[in-house]
């Protein structure tokens, strides 16, 4: 059975980025790859938040939550027009 993937917004603590990374995109990608080989980053956010969004299984999301530098994970929310 293939675990269902959902989109998560991953909030990162940019100030804790290891110096081995030249930019935060690289760091985000590395964090994602540690939990998911097939992890597909949808967006990297730089201005209103620091972090990225990606499709993850629940297990992958749980694992990423404890990764250094991860502040929080928010599951995708659907908004509606008013």
């Amino acid at each position: 059975a293939v675990a269902e993937k959902k989109t998560y917004i991953v909030h990162m603590d940019k100030s804790t980025m290891p110096t081995s990374f030249t930019d935060h995109f690289e760091w985000y990608d590395s964090a994602l790859k540690t939990v998911s080989d097939s992890g597909n980053m949808l967006y990297a956010y730089t201005d209103v938040i620091h972090g990225f969004s990606a499709r993850l299984t629940a297990d992958e999301a749980k694992s990423l939550e404890s990764h250094p530098g991860v502040l929080s994970l928010l599951e995708e929310v659907k908004y509606e027009l008013h």
Binding site: T7, L71, Y79
Partner: protein, 660 residues
């Protein structure tokens, strides 16, 4: 929009507003269903070059290319990765994978905020006039984040991120999701980031009214906008065989009934085998019992215009759409495909009573076009979401109300005015209702204020809009709530109805910056990690410092009080609460005096000092408001208003006191 510029006093006060050069430096970013660039409301005649600070783009895609942007529509982007992740790849046949608006909502909101003036606009002759956005010289940047399957938070944050980078000054977001803590709410988080860059974020309050605690987008750094009516209606009449004539509204534009032709009238519940037959749901009507008749359908569950299609498909020739108790007497006009009149609950009940009482009930429907000067206006729309604030009751929301009922503005060429697939009509302008429509009014008005006071913070602009609102009609009566017919309260209208001419010169503002909001989060006992999720900043609340939600420098006041336990809720034991606020002078030197108007004896409100003298611009003065309250039964709400006035300016703040 037509009429709202006159209703808001914009047309009569042109000289007070920024000239096209200053105003055109302001960019309004609209996150919505995209944009229909061919709309005349995006005509760029008379506009100078795109501001040099603008870094945005016009992204090409399905049915959209870079040449669709101009000096009015200076940016157009689309964000679909989150949506496609959930729904699979976008099918170009059904929706445009580009900034193009296939829905109409995004074109309506963006043209409301900042559309150019278009003469002789109307919807089938209804609401005719010159249509213009509130900030007609401002530039528009469209960020498409809503698709047929909805609007997804990962796309929304990506669009906000891009809009900030692009250089928008105001963000208009007529969307909402479920209620969540601020650090779990992507729009609140994105709005905080935008606010730190000096961008005002205006959001719709939601259409969950008239139930209480139905608000969305309630973070204090967001401007939350509820909806009110205009002084305009579209009257239509249901004439019954009994000779009685009932009024309602309609935007029907097809062939009307001849005046004298009374046709058989049935109530949907009586011509259906479905337990919800009264609602005219798809396939629920029995054609043999409906054919050639006018059908009375109750509002609710499916869309209002869909009910007309259901009646039409069953052979019905007309519809009387009746409100039930959820909607009261609020009338929303629609461009139905068959002759239709929408009536209030009282009228609906009377018509149903007639059907029951007559063996051969008959009716006809007539239409009377556009009526202006309707009073009282504005009234709070029944659908407009109401307070108290469901996340932080200590902050009054909505912040204010603006026109959101029967608003004419630009529309897509890809869908008919009803949005139904069966509707093959195409229109340049459409009339729709919702807090989606009131939000871009305030976004555009914020852009106008920003055009005059480019250096003002988002909080200062919001304060100007809030403290200059009005809450009464010319006769002194409080703005009514259409859901009840009674006077409304700050839980319905916030600070009041927007008054843009006064907002340009508010005299004083309640300013607030990032540190104020961080202190607010400390008062909520947020941890450093939660604060960082929202603010992207390392911030530690001072351990010895007493943070108070009531001390956020907000232009309104909420005093939540506990009912004294064991005192039967009726004790006179007084509770004293003190709030401190700081006013910044944005006008000329003046002395302001405080006054409080209150009808309640349960709370004594005093202001110290009672007078503030400002000798220079940007001077700040602090004052304290003390609320001495008796205990009242749980669930009691009392309201008051505080004003600072120098004789020329009035800086008003609503006060809500709640006992729980």
């Amino acid at each position: 929009t037509t009429r709202t510029p006159q209703f808001l006093g914009l047309d009569a006060s042109q000289s007070l507003f920024p000239d096209s050069t200053t105003a055109s430096d302001v960019v309004v970013g609209v996150l919505d269903t995209g944009v229909w660039p061919e709309s005349k409301s995006f005509d760029d005649a008379g506009l100078g070059p795109v501001p040099s600070s603008w870094k945005g783009e016009c992204e090409a895609g399905n049915n959209f290319n870079t040449s669709h942007c101009n000096r009015k529509l200076i940016g157009a982007r689309f964000f679909s990765k989150g949506y496609e992740g959930a729904f699979g790849p976008i099918v170009a046949k059904t929706e445009s994978k580009s900034p193009r608006d296939d829905d109409g909502h995004g074109t309506h909101t963006s043209t409301t905020a900042a559309g150019s003036a278009v003469a002789e606009a109307s919807l089938f002759g209804y609401a005719a006039g010159t249509a213009r956005g509130m900030a007609r010289h401002a530039r528009v940047a469209a960020y498409k984040i809503c698709w047929q399957g909805g609007c997804f938070s990962s796309d929304i944050v990506a669009a906000m991120d891009a809009a900030v980078k692009d250089g928008v000054n105001v963000l208009s977001m007529s969307i909402g999701g479920s209620v969540a803590d601020y650090d779990r709410d992507s729009v609140a988080i994105g709005a905080f980031g935008a606010m730190t860059k000096g961008i005002l974020v205006s959001c719709s309050a939601g259409n969950g009214g008239p139930s209480s605690m139905t608000l969305s987008n309630v973070a204090p750094w967001i401007t939350t906008v509820g909806a009110g009516t205009l002084d305009r209606e579209f009257p239509a009449y249901a004439m019954l065989g009994s000779g009685k004539n009932y009024s309602g509204v309609s935007l029907y534009s097809g062939k009307p009934f001849s005046d004298s032709s009374l046709v058989p009238l049935v109530y949907a519940a009586n011509v259906s085998n479905s337990s919800y037959g009264n609602l005219c749901m798809t396939g629920s009507l029995i054609p043999a019992k409906v054919s050639g008749k006018i059908v009375v359908c109750d509002r609710g569950l499916n869309s209002r215009v869909q009910k007309g299609v259901v009646v039409k498909d069953a052979g019905g020739i007309g519809m009387i759409l009746t409100n039930t108790d959820s909607y009261g007497e609020e009338l929303v006009a629609d461009t139905h495909l068959i002759p239709t009149v929408a009536v209030g609950q009282l009228t609906g009940d009377a018509i149903k009573k007639y059907i029951l009482s007559d063996t051969k009930p008959t009716a006809t429907i007539t239409f009377a076009g556009t009526q202006l000067g309707v009073q009282p206006s504005p009234v709070v729309a029944a659908f407009s979401s109401r307070g108290p604030n469901p996340v932080t009751p200590d902050i009054l929301k909505p912040d204010l109300i603006a026109p959101g009922v029967n608003i004419l503005a630009g529309w897509t060429g890809a869908a008919g005015p009803t949005g139904l697939q069966e509707d093959t009509r195409r229109v340049s302008f459409n009339i729709v209702s919702g807090t989606s429509m009131s939000c871009p009014h305030v976004s555009g008005l914020a852009a106008l204020v920003k055009g005059v006071h480019f250096d003002w913070s988002p909080a200062a602009v919001k304060s100007a809009l809030m403290t200059t609102t009005y809450t009464t009609y010319k006769d002194g009566e409080t703005i009514k709530d259409i859901a009840t017919g009674r006077p409304s309260t700050p839980f319905d209208y916030g600070a009041g109805h927007v008054n843009p001419v006064a907002a340009l010169d508010p005299g004083l503002v309640y300013d607030a910056g990032v540190d104020d909001y961080l202190g607010f989060l400390c008062a909520l006992n947020y941890t450093s990690a939660r604060i960082k999720t929202i603010s992207q900043q390392d911030y530690t609340c001072e351990s010895g410092k007493k943070y108070s939600l009531g001390d956020l420098n907000y232009p309104s006041f909420v005093v939540p009080l506990q009912t004294a336990s064991g005192q039967g809720g009726g004790s006179s034991a007084a509770t004293e609460v003190k709030y401190t606020r700081t006013l910044t002078n944005v006008g000329t030197p003046a002395t302001y005096k405080a006054s409080v108007s209150s009808k309640t004896r349960a709370v004594k409100i005093t202001v110290e000092p009672e007078s503030l003298t400002f000798s220079q611009t940007n001077e700040k003065k602090t004052f304290t408001v003390t609320f001495s309250a008796s205990s009242m039964p749980s669930g009691t709400n009392e309201f008051a208003r505080m004003e600072w006035s120098d004789g020329k300016h009035t800086v008003g703040s609503p006060i809500a006191i709640s006992w729980t």
